[in-house]
């Protein structure tokens, strides 16, 4: 069961790059790493997912080292609207493995003008 550890909170300023690191020492071979974003009073929203090395989409980048025991979500040039809670998940999802999905407490990111 891959438990994740993230910083409780982070602060940054508009226009800066923000990197949030997640530790998952017990990640299994079949596990993928997924990041979600949650605004107050809303359900989480998928940001990015990866297995190894680097993944990039229009919103963020995900860096995963070779040992896969950690991952870093990178948000380029953040704005005030990026203020939210960010969750790192590690799971394989298939069949009974879906029962092992754990969101954790997430990282509360605050962006200032």
């Amino acid at each position: 069961l891959a438990k994740t550890t993230q910083p409780i909170s982070m602060d940054s300023y508009e226009g800066q790059e923000v990197n949030i690191t997640c530790s998952h020492n017990n990640i299994a071979t079949n596990d993928y790493i997924t990041w979600y974003q949650q605004f107050p009073s809303q359900g989480p929203r998928f940001i990015i997912q990866g297995y190894k090395t680097k993944v990039t989409n229009e919103v963020a980048s995900l860096f995963i080292p070779a040992d896969r025991k950690s991952s870093t979500l990178s948000l380029p040039r953040v704005s005030l609207s990026d203020t939210a809670v960010y969750y790192c998940l590690v799971a394989s999802y298939k069949g009974s493995s879906a029962s092992k999905i754990i969101f954790g407490s997430g990282t509360r990111l605050s962006i200032r003008p």
Binding site: Y32, T34, G43, A91, Y93, I102, F103
Partner: protein, 114 residues
């Protein structure tokens, strides 16, 4: 295409009362999930379903029951509500094909048990 919808949005119950929360998705997804989120906390998985007619327990299943009679609907029931079940409940669905998965969440149901 409404995505994932939840009914009701808010509900107040007295201890011992029962109720059913409805989740509906129009994306033809196989997997559906029910989570609860307590103030300042992350989401915890209550029950999930890997297809029509199937259900399975998640991390915190006690005090809840679920049913998936139709592929597009996933119902969460509280038979005898307790104050400890005061929370925000989120439903999610995912297509699940192959090894990976992306969950799509509903807007949540805020439940208060007095």
């Amino acid at each position: 295409n409404a995505g994932v919808t939840q009914t009701p949005k808010f509900r107040v119950l007295k201890t011992g009362q029962s109720m059913t929360l409805l989740c509906a998705q129009d994306m033809n997804h196989e997997y559906m999930y029910w989570y609860r989120q307590d103030p300042g906390m992350g989401l915890r998985l209550i029950h999930y379903s890997v297809g029509e007619g199937t259900t399975a327990k998640g991390e915190v299943p006690d005090g809840y029951n679920v049913s998936r009679l139709k592929k597009q609907n996933f119902l969460l029931g509280l038979e005898s509500a307790a104050p400890s079940q005061t929370s925000v409940y989120f439903c999610a669905s995912s297509p699940v094909a192959g090894k990976t998965d992306t969950q799509y969440f509903g807007p949540g149901t805020r439940l208060t048990v007095l």
